[in-house]
């Protein structure tokens, strides 16, 4: 089986296996033997490609963060550059992307938050992630609100996103994306001056409530 370009195949394969293992038994019990078992390869290969278990976990978190970032970016790219409300919806939607609210990923997130509290490398990743969400929101809100108010609203929306996400993690039905959008849009509607919303959006928002 020795072929070139194996790293490009093995790395995602092992990251998927890591998420699978965390999903199955939790981070504490996700041993390298189990992870490599899910990937159908030898445990030694984890060291070969990631320098150890820690490296694999960090790469796994990076991978999830990358996907989150892409989910947001893709939605933003297909938005009107000047439609603030549409763009906020896009940001929220990206954070509740199908992949991100999948039970496997949710469990992995929680595991990483726990680890991040004690591993500077992971903590930094988490911080960057938080700041990115905030700056995305702020960028839009500043166009329709004064600076301090924009910051206040951005913080609130970010909190709503994380809070709904977190509570959904412990709900038997999982995370409810539509409810999330309704709650957040309702909040936005009440914070922005009415004229900001065009007729179409006003109707949409009314419908959601």
């Amino acid at each position: 089986m020795p072929k070139v370009g194996m790293p490009a195949i093995r790395k995602p394969q092992l990251i998927d296996a890591t998420i699978e293992a965390i999903n199955a038994v939790g981070l504490q019990k996700a041993s390298v033997v189990m992870i490599s078992g899910y990937a159908g390869v030898s445990p030694a290969i984890i060291n070969h490609y990631f320098g150890g278990k820690d490296g694999l976990l960090e790469e796994t978190m990076r991978s999830i963060l990358r996907q989150l970032s892409q989910a947001v970016q893709q939605r933003l790219n297909s938005c009107d550059k000047d439609d603030v409300i549409e763009r906020i919806i896009a940001i929220v939607g990206g954070n509740f992307d199908s992949q991100q609210i999948d039970s496997k990923i949710v469990k992995t997130w929680l595991a990483f938050w726990s680890m991040a509290m004690h591993q500077p490398a992971l903590f930094r990743l988490q911080r960057v992630n938080e700041k990115r969400l905030l700056s995305h929101l702020l960028l839009e809100l500043k166009r329709i609100l004064p600076a301090d108010k924009a910051k206040f609203v951005a913080l609130s929306i970010a909190a709503l996103i994380d809070g709904i996400w977190l509570r959904g993690a412990f709900s038997p039905n999982g995370i409810d994306r539509d409810l999330a959008q309704r709650i957040i849009m309702d909040y936005v509607e009440k914070q922005v001056p009415p004229q900001t919303l065009d007729i179409h959006q006003q109707r949409q928002l009314l419908k959601k409530n």
Copy 2:
């Protein structure tokens, strides 16, 4: 010389030591040797009193949940039974009680969330906790809002509480209780009919913005 009431001494002592250990190195590395070291006793005693490490961890979570519940209940008890807004402030305040936003407890919470995903006993505890917050809020909101709207707002407030709490966990400055109250009260103000607020509260809310 068998001492009476030893359990009442040892149990809190070991629970504190557990939180201390999780604070210091994280749940993954908090071994029973380390925990018993913090408590200044022998590791064997953990089995004696809690039947094993899992038992200790569950009791530790129970202890934190109990304190959270008490923090809310105490504030509610010193409120006017009919002042809905004051009572919501009390509920929010309890969730941001000094103890609960202490870094040690925050780390422990995150650790438990991670574990709860894979341990039914802990998962149940977490569910009960979530439902209690929601029912506390709902109980009040139903008195000033129609049922479905009350539920919607209760969910939102709960999400804001958890979201602000969670984001604060990763902030270098820790969790900001005042900001939390401001954000949530601003939200409440915009959701409830104006006449619900008495003159005093209206002034307070205006000040906060």
Copy 3:
């Protein structure tokens, strides 16, 4: 089996087992499982008492060095304080003590020399050991020879001791203590002024040749 004072029993027991294992298969293949097997205990106990394999190896070397030092000291203690020749014989004798020329110890010495080249802690032990031999010899020789000559002779005797010891390590018959004494005493005789030797010693030395 839990009794107090176990460390005093376990430590020598494990050190003996280490020497036994090195004797049997060499340092490279002397795993903690094998060593603990020789001692009839669990591998985990090595960490418990020595903090790891390295700690055990260092303690083992210390133990052998201590025994060498004692072998020399005991012989010196039963010597006339002023009989230089007798005291040199004692020093040489201690270095060729039955225990030190035992095949097991010889193999362990060689293993340690090899390790000492790359482990500062062991290197230091070896240095101290070398210097002690030299200073023992020097102390005596200075009483019958000028300082620079004394140093020259001390170095030579030390080299003869080590050289004979080393070559004996690779001899099928092992190390020959008597030959060592004969070679070294012959050397001493030719380096010290005749009048230093009393009649008795002169006869002895003649006999040896």
Copy 4:
């Protein structure tokens, strides 16, 4: 394109890399990956050329022994066939050849002694080496001393060579070739009948003391 004479290139290259690795981290930690890294080739090639790590180590020892033998032989070849003292100086000189007292080679020697105790193939090499030194010395000494005395002196000189060499290995200043020659020549001078030495040599020996 099969290249001819590759073995002749690769083998010394890998042997040098082995010595380099032993010098850097010691035999225990000198893995085939590290060795092949020093040589700038793939680890698999070690198996190709030496049949495994053991084969490489044995060849490395053989190489060092060969160089030692050559260092002695070259010096002997440029000696007067009948000048016993000069030839002994040559033998000693060869054993303290620049290459042999280089730190890298010294570490490798010690590593091999340790291994030789448990690997018959290496033990045999070491024995041959010892015997060769002894027979070289004996061959010369028999021409000026009676057989038993010659053997006695040969053993002593061999011991001095090895002893000085060994002690130098642990000295921060390394092995002192001149001191070695002085000590050994002083010894020889006192063991051989005065008339053996010609005027020139007598002067040299006097100077050395």
